[in-house]
Symmetry: C3
Subunit: 129 residues, 3 copies
């Protein structure tokens, strides 16, 4: 298992981690397999989406905040229930294939760490099968 940190900059932040996962594949000399990316937090997640145009990320953030409002008569006293709900909707893990030593991603795909209750320093775990 390989682990790296992600420093998030705001309450709701999507940060590209594709290069860190590519580094793992290279450092470990993985030529073929399926990688699992896992986020060990309950107010964060991992997703794959467009990495080219930053307006896509802005729209994802805006719309998720509309669907799951920050304040909505939640009972959890810490005030971060919306972050927990987003975490379950987006999900704590992703699988990515490796072929011929390269991560298999579509042309527009990038891997994003999703911070829903930052800013904080977070962890990501990566492991291959």
């Amino acid at each position: 298992m390989y682990s790296f940190n992600v420093k998030t900059g705001s309450r709701f932040d999507l940060i590209k981690i594709t290069d860190k996962i590519k580094k793992f594949v290279k450092d470990e000399n993985i030529t073929d397999g399926i990688i699992t990316v896992f986020v060990p937090h309950t107010t964060a997640a991992v997703t794959i989406n467009e990495g080219a145009d930053p307006s896509v990320v802005e729209d994802i953030k805006k719309e998720l905040d509309e669907i799951i409002p920050l304040h909505d008569n939640y009972s959890h006293m810490e005030g971060n229930s919306a972050a927990h709900i987003k975490s379950s909707l987006i999900g704590a893990s992703e699988n990515i294939m490796v072929e011929n030593g390269s991560l298999v991603l579509g042309t527009w795909q990038a891997v994003f760490f999703c911070e829903f209750d930052g800013p904080r320093t977070r962890k990501v775990y990566v492991k291959v099968n």
Copy 2:
């Protein structure tokens, strides 16, 4: 493949299954790998979220019922369309890593079976790679 039952208590119920997955890891002497947890139902799901404060689970349930209302002019005659939609949003599977014989979860993370159309007796499948 390992299988266990979950008895759910109400229409919408989140039930902690972390201990059952830990038991699988122990019984099978798994020291290292990636576990897949799979729910073979179309009106249920599996998620990872906070296991310490039960108010988080209450907020997840309340908010999901607001986002996907129980009645909303659905065409499916069985009356459980909201449960099917929640199932696809949360997802039928999760991946969890095992290192040194232990399930790798964050401090606050627990694994939950999500019942969206109970109460029923449900099945969960677990398998390691």
Copy 3:
């Protein structure tokens, strides 16, 4: 890694791909393992849900369009932000177990390719561990 095409028929389309995954299991003589199904697109996804009654799929489409409206003051100029958001909510991958040469799915489960910005010809990747 195995790859196949899916031809989608409309902007928002859910297409059953269970048989194509079963064909992969048969062609590759897979008797035991965990299969990853991966969609290399940022405006599509993969989900597991009811395959018997097509009204379930209709309700999933209707409700997702209500939750994530097609037009909602998005900033991404291409006009397909709703598709990107749906893609992250449903997810780019699924895991399915294989036992005794058969895909392990519940009685009502089918695997669906989710097109959110069609019609197009799309790709699906399948790999076993």
